[in-house]
Subunit: 147 residues, 2 copies
DNA sequence: CAAGCACTTTACGTTAACGTAAACCTCGTC
DNA sequence: GACGAGGTTTACGTTAACGTAAAGTGCTTG
């Protein structure tokens, strides 16, 4: 874990064989700048399901991706429940019955609509920020002249 | 308030003289699909400052705009505290001293950075939604063939 | 004038998303 | 073998953003 000159001694990290690395909770936490507590909480909420090695949680690539998606969702203001809705159905897909799949499509359309509205909101808020910015600089300019 | 055939009798609504209409809390609430409680809460948090007429709150155009901005901010996942930060400084601008104005510019840059990241997040999440969507439709198609 | 709205204040309740603390294992290492 | 760094569970605490209920005010309308 010394970051530099890792000997890669044990029988697990053989030159990073691509896709199936695994991570500890602390590693993931540092990667995404969250606390372990947060990650455990997401597990408890059904968003992650790491394997165990004895007592310890072992996270695989898939879990890392899920965490990434979850955090992205959060940044966009989705609740954990909403995120779970999509993520879990995604997993249930392969063997999914038709009703479930249609339901999934519904949810997806819903989320997408949400995103579109956010795009518009961003556009508008950008304009307003620009406006405020301009005014502020104007006032500053005038202050300079008066001084 | 019967919506249709309003007589506009009193000395306040003379043919809607443009900019200085005023609203009751209930009107605003219906306009934006929030509860009066929410509006009062925003006032308590320093985001609105309606005038009073006796006991009752009177909202002017400015207040309506503020509420709109506030709700837009919320949809983008900003906290009320963050929103207040911008909104209040905006009002303090005209007579603002230089330090305050620079601080405001800082905050604005911050918010903008936030928006840019959201745009990227939206882009990515859109792609993922599309992906899931495609897969789901694929599975559905196969189900159809098997049936 | 009683009834019914729309408004008011006060105050306690609720939910989501964690934070924080205590008390416990289990390594590698000095 | 003590100890420090990481991991674990359990459980109570906290914050934001309202919801909800109770009790009162003021108008106007049958």
């Amino acid at each position: 874990m010394t970051q530099t000159s890792a000997p890669a001694d044990e029988a697990s990290q053989e030159a990073l064989p691509r896709q199936h690395r695994h991570y500890t909770i602390g590693e993931l936490a540092r990667m995404f700048e969250v606390t372990p507590r947060t990650i455990r909480f997401y597990e408890q909420e059904g968003l992650l399901a790491p394997r165990r090695e004895g007592q310890k949680r072992i996270y695989r690539e898939k879990d890392r991706v899920r965490l990434k998606l979850t955090l992205r969702g959060k940044r966009l203001g989705f609740s954990l429940a909403e995120i779970r809705e999509v993520v879990m159905m995604y997993d249930a897909m392969p063997d999914g019955n038709a009703r479930q799949l249609w339901r999934l499509l519904e949810i997806l359309a819903d989320k997408r609509a949400n995103l579109e509205r956010q795009l518009e909101d961003i556009r508008l808020m950008r304009m307003e920020l620009d406006d405020v910015d301009h005014r502020a600089r104007e006032v500053l300019r005038n202050l300079g002249h008066e001084a």
